[in-house]
């Protein structure tokens, strides 16, 4: 591209400023025309030619300045063409409307009121279209619609990353930085310095000053050179007024160019990653401690409050393990409650079995539970932690528990009748990891099991 002299570009940059004058004048002419016609305010008519005249002059000025700006080559030529021709059309029409209004041409079709309104409506339409294309050039074509309330959101669902190793350096880390700090001026429609950073192809193509990246050599890469310049100097990026890159962001880009050879497909795991970079990556990917999400739970079936209220009035403590999951932690603390009779326990357990699919943790210490009761508890197949310490359970009862496929932890301490035999049965529960047998006749040092026994 031929070099354009600085003075041309200097004036060209006044285009976005000047362009608002014709918009204002011409709109105002339209409003005057409407008011004059429909509210019979004839006095207003006088001002219409003036408004049209000023509108036409400033439109011509804006066209000239716009052309000068377009010479910089910073813009996508396709989008630019549309803006250019619509701009010219608006200007021509504005001049025509002025001529019409001032009756400089005498002709047969001087049924001027209707014609004037039609012309001015058309001008307003053209103005809007031109302005829209111009806006797209400056802000990007999705600027208006990004936050459209009803439109379908086309924001790409981000691929969920769980470990830093599986993250793609470019897609998950570098691109978001470019998006935040660079893309508003370096995109496919507004290529400042001829450079677009939108996508792999454009980035590799580079800009007026050559390649933006030199794989393996960050200090020679234009993209890094520019952010390291003195912030007051002319070439410093992002330019004054925009948010500069943080040291961490710069370090990560350098790491990608140097360690990752500016490869667009590489994952963090396949590159030698220094510790300080890992920290930054974790931060960028929200995988560090500040990422506050813990393990969540799936949602279980709804439970009628009536059943829960009844259980609570029987002295059962019920809480949701995670809010709004209906997964329950059910326990009875024996303080200050009269001990239930054997029949009372059965009634309680039958009540509990109505919500058995919701019970995940169940704790019934020192409630006088015997083998018979385990028949009901053995149907609570979602239970993962079961506390039956200080009850009167024997080996026989434990065979009912083998259906509890989810069971991870079983507390049987101080159930004095339990012997080694019961362990045989419990090994059938695959998920079971911890068994508490303190205070039983079992000597945990003598037995062998794949479970951890306390």
């Amino acid at each position: 591209m031929n070099e354009v002299s600085d003075i041309v570009l200097f004036f060209g940059r006044f285009h976005p400023l000047v362009v608002h004058l014709p918009i204002g004048f011409l709109f105002f002419a339209f409003i005057l025309e409407i008011l004059a016609k429909f509210q019979k305010k004839d006095r207003l008519k006088v001002a219409i030619p003036l408004a049209l005249f000023l509108g036409s002059i400033s439109a011509i000025g804006a066209c000239v300045l716009g052309y000068m700006l377009s010479l910089s080559g910073d813009y996508d030529s396709h989008a630019l063409d549309k803006h250019f021709w619509f701009g010219v059309a608006t200007t021509v029409l504005a001049v025509f409307a002025w001529i019409l209004k001032t009756e400089r041409i005498k002709n047969g079709i001087r049924d001027s009121v209707k014609l004037n309104i039609a012309t001015l409506t058309f001008i307003v339409l053209l103005l809007s279209v031109t302005g829209h294309y111009g806006g797209n050039l400056t802000h990007g074509s999705d600027y208006l619609t990004t936050y459209l309330p009803f439109g379908k959101k086309e924001r790409i669902e981000e691929f969920k990353i769980n470990t830093i190793e599986e993250a793609q350096i470019f897609t998950n880390v570098i691109n978001p930085i470019l998006d935040r700090k660079c893309i508003s001026c370096h995109n496919s429609s507004k290529k400042k310095g001829g450079l677009s950073l939108e996508g792999e192809v454009a980035i590799l193509a580079g800009g007026k000053n050559g390649a933006s990246l030199i794989a393996g050599n960050s200090s020679q890469s234009e993209i890094i050179k520019r952010v390291h310049l003195d912030p007051t100097s002319k070439g410093f990026m992002p330019p004054e007024g925009k948010t500069p890159l943080t040291n961490e962001e710069i370090k990560v880009i350098e790491y990608w160019i140097d360690h990752g050879q500016a490869n667009f497909e590489l994952t963090v795991g396949s590159v030698d990653t220094p510790e300080d970079i890992r920290k930054i990556l974790e931060e960028q990917l929200h995988l560090n401690g500040n990422n506050t999400s813990g393990v969540t739970m799936s949602k279980a079936a709804e439970i009628p409050d009536k059943i829960l209220n009844k259980l609570i009035n029987k002295g059962v403590s019920i809480r949701e393990i995670v809010a709004e999951t209906n997964q329950l932690d059910v326990s009875i603390v024996s303080t200050n409650k009269e001990k239930l009779s054997k029949q009372g326990i059965i009634e309680l357990l039958e009540e509990l079995s109505k919500i058995k699919n919701n019970i995940v943790w169940l704790s019934l210490p020192s409630q006088g539970i015997i083998d018979k009761h385990l028949e009901i508890i053995g149907t609570f197949t979602n239970v993962r932690r079961l506390g039956l310490q200080e009850n009167n359970i024997s080996d026989k009862g434990l065979s009912y528990l083998t259906n509890l496929k989810q069971l991870e932890s079983l507390n049987l301490h101080s159930n004095t009748a339990i012997t080694d035999k019961s362990l045989q049965k419990l090994t059938k529960i695959k998920n079971l990891k911890r068994i508490y047998l303190w205070g039983t006749s079992i000597n945990e040092n003598k037995i062998k099991s794949d479970k951890t026994i306390f």
Partner: protein, 501 residues
């Protein structure tokens, strides 16, 4: 004129209601027909209030209520916690942070390159010399995790494989009062809710007959004072404050009935009192009235629950032997550890123990050994006891003070004696149990135990991690007060994911 309205209104929603009742506009509205109307108005109001009470006289049917704060946010690892607070600032150099290289530097000046201009307390700032004092207490490695423990803690060395040592703790404060307040409430200034109060507010009670948050102060400590605000509720509703059990015969005062009163009509008395308070609440809407009512009810239930839970006679001899001979003497650290376990077993969510006396400005080796003797066996016994009862998998145990101690000697350094001043930049804590990786040591200090060189854990990080283990996102447990949103971790804190199992 009318615009003044908003500026005079409180931020608290409950108080706004009251202010609306009391303001000029509603006064004029009510009195617009003269004083007759005023009288009638109050009569009508009173009637309303009474009818509200009538509907509520028998609130016997308890209702299941979901946690209206949306807690827990995620799957909790801990259901309850016991925090063994070692008040005064235990010396990490004498207990856990083994620094063999110091032996060769005995008596030498602490290099400026290590101190890096760190401020000193008024107690050692005037010292002309800051001589390095290596620990005279021996260290050995224990367990499969090969953790370094000094000979001051022989019992703890048996359970190191259950413990996660954090050697890189850091805090902002350098004196006792702000440092303890900072650890317990997240702010050096008094007035914020303590950790236990946040948990009580956020998660509620597991046993309505006992307070959710109980504090025990051991009587065989002594030293820097403690204050009730360390277990205070701050701006949270009053029922969330920690209830302190005393170390004497009656752990909670005034629970026993007075002489010549059998207490049989207490229930009736409380019911009528409740009605009266209900009227007051209907009129003023002060939330503190509700808090007071719930505390009366709690006290009533504690009349039976406290004697039961503090009754040590059902503990077998070998349990007392395990905790050590102090445990038979109520109010000692060992006895409090045992009592703490019993409270946790009965559904208390947060037990906060305090042991004072770790402030070894002078006579450091002797002081550390003395305190270790009072606490070591009970610490280890508590871990073993929780394990055998199956409680270790969902109970979090925390041991730690408000800061550490300096590598240099405060006062005269001799071959057998030295003192150590406060040091906030590096000290050791340990956590164990629910959701914490067992048998690891996290973080490192330099050769002087003065600066953290790897994985620093700030007080706020510790608090964030604690809440995380209870299923709480520390950034989302928030209480709005005086127009500002407050958190335990203020605007700081990172969950230390590396120590989570």
């Amino acid at each position: 004129m009318c615009d003044h309205h908003d500026t005079l209104r409180s931020n608290n929603k409950d108080l706004q209601q009251i202010e609306k009742m009391l303001d000029r506009r509603s006064f004029l509205t009510k009195t617009s027909l003269g004083f007759g109307a005023l009288a009638l108005g109050s009569l009508l109001n009173a009637d309303k209030a009474w009818s509200a009470v009538k509907n509520n006289t028998k609130p016997d049917l308890e209702m299941f209520s979901r946690n209206d704060l949306g807690l827990p946010h995620h799957l909790p690892k801990a259901k309850r916690a016991i925090y063994l607070f070692q008040s005064g600032g235990p010396s990490q150099i004498e207990l856990f942070d083994y620094k063999p290289k110091l032996k060769n530097l005995y008596g030498q000046e602490l290099p400026d390159s290590v101190r890096k201009g760190q401020r000193l307390t008024g107690m050692s700032a005037d010292q002309t010399s800051l001589p390095i004092a290596p620990s005279i207490i021996d260290f050995k490695q224990y367990g499969e995790s090969r953790a370094w423990i000094s000979s001051a803690m022989p019992h703890l060395s048996e359970v190191v494989d259950d413990i996660c040592f954090i050697k890189s703790m850091q805090t902002d404060a350098i004196n006792h009062d702000p440092a303890i307040t900072f650890f317990q409430t997240g702010s050096q200034q008094a007035g914020r809710p303590s950790i236990g109060s946040w948990l009580s507010y956020g998660l509620g009670s597991d046993n309505e007959n006992l307070p959710t948050f109980i504090t025990l102060v051991s009587k065989n400590g002594g030293g820097q004072p403690l204050y009730a605000r360390l277990w205070g509720n701050g701006f949270l509703p009053t029922e969330h404050q920690g209830v302190q059990f005393r170390s004497g015969k009656d752990p909670v005062l005034y629970l026993t009935n007075p002489e010549n009163y059998d207490g049989r009509d207490r229930r009736n008395m409380l019911d009528y009192l409740g009605k009266l308070n209900e009227v007051q609440h209907g009129f003023y809407g002060d939330p503190e009235i509700n808090a007071r009512m719930s505390q009366y009810e709690m006290a009533f239930r504690m009349q039976t629950s406290i004697p039961e839970v503090t009754n040590m006679s059902d503990e077998p001899e070998y349990i007392f032997d395990m905790y050590g001979k102090d445990s038979r003497d109520p109010g000692t650290y060992a006895a409090n550890c045992l009592l703490g376990r019993k409270l946790l077993e009965k559904g208390v969510k947060f037990v906060q123990l305090y042991h004072q006396g770790w402030d070894q400005h002078i006579g450091c080796p002797k002081g550390v050994l003395g305190n270790a003797r009072k606490t070591d066996q009970a610490n280890a016994a508590l871990i073993k006891d929780l394990k055998q009862r199956g409680m270790f998998e969902d109970t979090l145990l925390i041991w730690g003070g408000e800061f550490g101690r300096t590598v240099y000697s405060q006062g005269k350094l001799t071959a057998t004696d030295y003192g150590r001043d406060h040091h906030p930049k590096a000290f050791t804590m340990f956590m164990a149990g629910a959701g914490v990786k067992p048998g690891i040591t996290y973080g490192e200090t330099d050769d002087f135990s003065y600066n953290v060189i790897k994985d620093p854990v700030h007080t706020h990080d510790f608090q964030a991690t604690l809440l995380h283990l209870f299923g709480i996102d520390h950034e989302r447990l928030i209480y709005k007060h005086q127009g500002r949103r407050f958190r335990l971790t203020d605007v700081h804190g990172h969950v230390v994911k590396d120590i989570l199992s």
